[in-house]
């Protein structure tokens, strides 16, 4: 073997020298620093961390800020967005605009890693931050379990596995208890969760709300939808329960615009409720609180 290698080297010394040079030159650039750590985020992107454990983190979404505060050392969280209002401790952090992203402010705060959620931060913004030396880690939430595994992941990244595990064990246990209470709901309640009145936007099928409803033995009244709903679609879905505002609010700002929708079962039986918008819209550790709130609405 050694002879063969030597003979090849003797035959093509120039070729080998070039190859070795190329290898070293590439290695010089691409070789990860000893402390560098490569992660794969929720979108399958590679995220290069300069340190093994990020000491300074921040989020570009209100839900992510809640998740960071649930797992990380509070002192390690260096900023919040103008929308981040929970927990109260978040309000003491410097504000970074997330729409459009204030790049200078981000650089000033020197985060080792920025967390965000698919759909909130455009990919080109993440690329720009990456160019500026700030790695961005995306999460994608479709199910309640994704939130828990996200918390575990934040724990692994920031070296707080134990804290994250304690939290997620407890949250998973609560969800299992709630789920056990509602496995025999026959027929399941059809629920329509309104996100916008004019035009009518709803929480579609691939949002966390669908999974929350499944845990409660209910179903989302609509299939996947990214466009506004027509009144006829809602009449056809004919939901048993409507989430989107108090009966008074919905009468004033929804049913007065669309009086034809007074035909649906939810209106006829006065099953219209106003869930807390932050609990509905944010995939955060408060998901159990959100499920409990919905449970009270669905099974008063």
């Amino acid at each position: 073997m050694r002879q063969i290698r030597n003979s090849y080297f003797r035959k093509y010394p120039l070729l080998y020298s070039c190859l070795l040079l190329l290898l070293f030159s590439c290695g010089g650039e691409r070789k990860p620093a000893e402390t560098e750590r490569v992660l794969q985020d929720g979108l399958g992107r590679e995220v290069h961390l300069k340190k093994q454990q990020p000491a300074r983190v921040m989020a570009l979404a209100a839900s992510m800020t809640e998740m960071l505060f649930a797992v990380c050392d509070t002192a390690s969280i260096v900023a919040r967005t103008p929308h981040c209002d929970y927990p109260a401790a978040a309000l003491t952090k410097p504000v970074v605009n997330n729409y459009p992203v204030d790049y200078e402010q981000v650089l000033l705060l020197k985060p080792d890693l920025v967390f965000t959620v698919e759909g909130i931060t455009p990919l080109e913004v993440a690329d720009r931050l990456q160019e500026l030396g700030v790695p961005v880690y995306y999460f994608k939430f479709r199910k309640v379990e994704d939130i828990f595994s996200g918390l575990d992941e934040i724990g692994r990244i920031t070296g707080r596995e134990q804290q994250a595990k304690q939290l997620t064990d407890s949250l998973r246990q609560h969800v299992a208890q709630i789920e056990a209470r509602h496995q025999q709901q026959q027929p399941p309640l059809k629920v329509l969760a309104i996100a916008g009145y004019d035009p009518i936007y709803v929480y579609g099928h691939s949002t966390v709300i669908t999974d929350k409803l499944r845990i409660l033995g209910a179903v989302n009244a609509v299939e996947e939808t990214f466009s506004p709903l027509s009144r006829e679609q809602i009449l056809k879905a004919n939901p048993d329960v409507l989430l989107g505002g108090t009966p008074e609010e919905m009468e004033k700002s929804f049913f007065s615009i669309y009086p034809e929708l007074r035909k649906i079962k939810a209106y006829q039986h006065n099953r219209i409720y106003a869930p807390t918008s932050d609990l509905m819209g944010r995939a955060s550790p408060r998901v159990v609180e959100s499920i409990r709130e919905l449970e009270q609405f669905l099974y008063p």
Binding site: D198, Y201, P228, S230, E232, Q233, L235, I257, P259
Partner: protein, 335 residues
Amino acid sequence: MSKAAYFILAVLLILLVMVLGLLVGSFETDAGLLADAFFQYNPDNLTHFSIIHLRLPRLLLALVVGASLAFCGYLMQAMVNNGLAEPYLLGTASGASLGAVLVFFGIVEITIAGIYMPSLFALLGALGITLLVVLLGYRRGHIIPTQLILAGVALSSLCTAFVWLLTYLSDTEGKLKSVIFWSMGSFERASWQLLPYPTVALGLALLLFLFMQKQLNILLLGAGRAEALGVQVARTRWIILITVSAVTGFAVATSGTVGFVGLIVPHVTRALMGATGKYNLLFCAFVGGFFMLLCDLLSRVVYPPAGLPIGIITSFFGVPFFVYLLSRKNYNFSS
């Protein structure tokens, strides 16, 4: 084909597209069910209810709005004697958008006494901006078309800047969606309560101009020659301006801004009926109504069930047809 045949064809096509439009929706509908909805209506049957209270007013609104915009486009092109003129030239669309957007951003409640405020404010915005444009285009008792167009463009830009400013400062995604939805046009809010306003405005305007078609045709010769031929140019222009602002205002207030129809349908009319036909305005309204119905149907077939915003479809399907028509007829604006 004779002109009478074109009229009959337009009416038949409108009826055909209306029937097809009544068959398309979330609830599966066949001819039997459609007939039942009309002749054995059961208010507890949600399909019947949808056909009569959602689909039919939607189609009628599309018909009226299409007719209104085409009609106003024809009037504007005749008034300024320019084939590029359209009903929104007077700043109507931008004024209406600004009015509606102010409501979306909370200047008043979304409904007051059951009246949908974005529509009311859109109407006020349309009329208000049009009045300003006319005042700027008015000099020594006369409307100066060039000045009017420039004033329209300038004030439209100003309104659009305000709309974008409010949109940029918006704190919720819902408001953004409302503004975007409004700016692309939609018949989704159609109802029997809403329908009479644009219909009555269009009906009265059509009636008035059936008697003024001759003056309009003479106006195409230019203001000087029209005066020489006994047309009271200043008075005719005032009547056109008031009519266009009212009819377009109601159309925009009920369905948002739908572009393109007011520009191309008058050209289609002249290409088919000649530049100075006696019933051009009426035919233009028919073609506008048919075109809008067809676009609404296509939007719901292409992207069911809610349909694409109507403004996208009018451009997608209108432009190729328009280009074909212009090339085929060797068409000229005023001859």
